[in-house]
Assembly symmetry: C2
């Protein structure tokens, strides 16, 4: 529900040359926001532009940006900016766009306000208040549900509401931090009990949805107001231990299979930046109940974002190979939109807070190439990599790399950067 | 794993007379901690003693208590004290016990440091970092599971691990705050879809387990160290919308059926205070896997706490009736101990934070009188109240009151105070 304005103009160029490269994730039409630091400096807000990070604190100190939103954006997290709601982030976007546009006088400040990306250490963009994870892809559910019940593969409520579970906020980490293989308990095929490092570690390719503003406990958020509660989007890897998950899940859902860690990308592509990529939501059968329906949602509720997951094994790394793409999927195909997720989540009066994180659920599509986790890919056997290695599940040292790009006719494509993490060996069980 | 010391001496008396009444929840052997405020004053730490609240900030200012723990306990939440770990809260307990003991010179400060309970507004004791809810009662699971599968009523992993799900931190509220009946979606018996105020609102009688200290992500907590991660215990009402729950739950577990609100008691009875009430844990069949087992847990892991849930309807209130007891149950019967919950929760490396909240799960026992929610009670039909009213589920205006007392031979009984809340009518759906 973001209006298009001058910041989306495809003809807009920046005085910072690398932002004008056709391959960049971060043209001036994007302006994703995050938190970074450098040695000896406090974490602060930053905006990605080409191959650099705009230091929002430095820009504010140089009076290139001003106002409440600029003040809130200096850090050390984005929670304050998120709390101010969408008008604040939209105002900041307009200021930054004008400042970085070709011809702006700010160009003379480039050295003091632009930090080369390889010098900026990206941090978790917000303190995660609460984390809820959805399951909104028809293809993900249908493929995996067939094993449970071939006649009724979908969860019983799948077509009536966006199914979700509360997940773990404390273990959300930013891209780049290794993920330790978790210990866990499961029952082996022969009925014997096991406790030790998971033997079925998986990724799930998802989008992160970051919440703006706050509704008081007991106050639902109707569909008309849901878009304004979405601050922006990032990449999210919902790491999953499948052996643990199968064993622990009935009837209360996944617990330790998911709380081992969740990786998110450092850059949040704002809802404003994504306005040119809004597309019609998939037609639902049966139609959604009125509380989950709106004309805007049907015409504009989905987002055209192409997402990929790739793997880099230790051997591939040693051979200098590029990451091998395991999944390529389209976010616009999700059965439920982000707005419907927000409205459903708050429909019981649950208070959504600034810095809350929603996972979209695994973004799978109907094609074999759009299976967005190894649990799906492995249904047809282990995947063979260019090195000749095979993978049923992730091995220690493997790295998973997510990328995404919003693409639409007449718009400059914008990217999400990366969400990546290496699998570290399981810790030994502590000796007394 | 708290040692007994002079603070547990059953002969100990206080100079504050109401603490020596045999019926009090708060004798000097208890000393539960919470957060309170008065009009115009900042929230601060308090300790319940008889019919008063010891103002920890005033006691510190009067130099009656000192040190890091006293500093951390002044508020505005208990998270800082929780972060310091069990030795800090034990040290504070010893100071406060000595100060309140008969003969102590602090008696002359009574007027400045003791606030009558009816003048103290109790607050949520800590900012809830994360909230996980367990399902650890055999009888609760067996009774309700029979409807799902008469031959296998227990969750498949029930005897091997304490089953749990991540729940919602943002909607945890302190006793006394009304709970609005939530709107929700469910499928009626005739297959028609419904969205509106839940028609099956229930309570669940649980203990709250508050976490002390912190383990880094990736670092498990073995059974030997689990007791030191438990700051203390309170009462917890896991309000549940059963129609919504049945519909939304498969396969990811309860979501909006639980996040509507969770009520906790303001007083946290510390693990130190409960040392005299440690009893042997129930014998498990099969024995727990080694990572969930310890000699201490078998001999001392359970707690002898008698818990009750009572109802007060508007009509009972108008007639001046006392709350009617619906449930009386014994916490020591839970199949899994709090220590096992902590170790299992962190067994995948999940980081547990100071201020994390664990729900014990519904504390039901084998007796019909020990059915700890209306879902169980209603299996034999609606309950009839002394007014002649009946209840299958909660109605607007009903109030649920939890109480609990730890009791053991040779020990002065200690109580938990109350956890109570009135059901408010559902909010209307917002008009655009």
């Amino acid at each position: 529900m973001a209006a298009r304005d001058a910041t989306h103009d495809p003809a807009l160029r920046s005085w910072f040359a690398s932002a004008n490269e056709v391959t960049t994730d971060f043209p001036i039409q994007n302006l994703p926001i995050g938190i970074f630091d450098r040695p000896g400096e406090a974490p602060r807000g930053g905006i990605a532009i080409g191959e650099a990070v705009l230091d929002l604190r430095a820009a504010k100190d140089a009076r290139l940006i001003a106002g409440d939103a600029a003040e809130a954006a200096i850090g050390p997290t984005l929670n304050r900016l998120m709390a101010m709601g969408r008008p604040a982030s939209a105002a900041l976007r307009r200021q930054v766009s004008a400042m970085l546009a070709a011809g702006a006088s700010a160009a003379s400040h480039a050295e003091s306000i632009l930090v080369p990306m390889d010098r900026a250490r990206m941090r978790l963009p917000a303190k995660v208040a609460n984390f809820s994870d959805f399951m909104a892809s028809y293809d993900h559910c249908a493929r995996l549900g067939v094993r449970r019940d071939p006649k009724n593969p979908l969860p019983q409520a799948f077509r009536q509401l966006p199914v979700a579970y509360h997940s773990r906020a404390s273990s959300v980490r930013v891209s780049g931090e290794p993920v330790a293989r978790p210990n866990g308990q499961w029952q082996a095929q022969d009925g014997a009990m096991r406790f030790g490092p998971t033997e079925a570690l998986d990724y799930e390719l998802e989008l992160a949805i970051w919440i703006a503003g706050e509704n008081a406990l007991g106050t639902p958020v109707p569909m008309s107001r849901a878009p304004d509660r979405i601050f922006g989007y990032g990449l999210l890897n919902d790491w999953s231990a499948r052996d643990v998950q199968r064993w622990e899940m009935p009837p209360l859902g996944p617990f330790l299979a998911k709380s081992l860690s969740t990786s998110v990308s450092p850059w949040i592509v704002t809802a404003e930046a994504l306005a040119p990529f809004e597309v019609a939501a998939p037609v639902q059968d049966p139609p959604a109940l009125p509380y989950l329906d709106s004309a805007w949602n049907r015409s504009n509720g989905a987002l055209a974002i192409r997402m990929t997951a790739a793997i880099l094994t230790p051997r591939m790394r040693a051979e200098g190979a590029a990451p091998f793409v395991l999944t390529e999927a389209q976010f616009a195909r999700m059965y439920w939109t982000a707005a419907a997720m927000v409205t459903h989540h708050a429909s019981n009066g649950c208070n959504l807070l600034p810095g809350d994180l929603l996972g979209s659920g695994t973004v799978s599509g109907p094609e074999d190439t759009a299976r967005a986790c190894l649990a799906e890919i492995g249904l047809t056997g282990p995947v063979t990599l260019p090195t000749g290695e095979t993978r049923r599940w992730l091995q220690d040292g493997d790295e998973i790399v997510f990328r995404a790009r919003a693409e639409a006719p007449g718009a400059v494509p914008i990217g999400f950067g990366e969400c990546r993490a290496v699998i570290a060996p399981a810790p030994g069980w502590p000796q007394e």
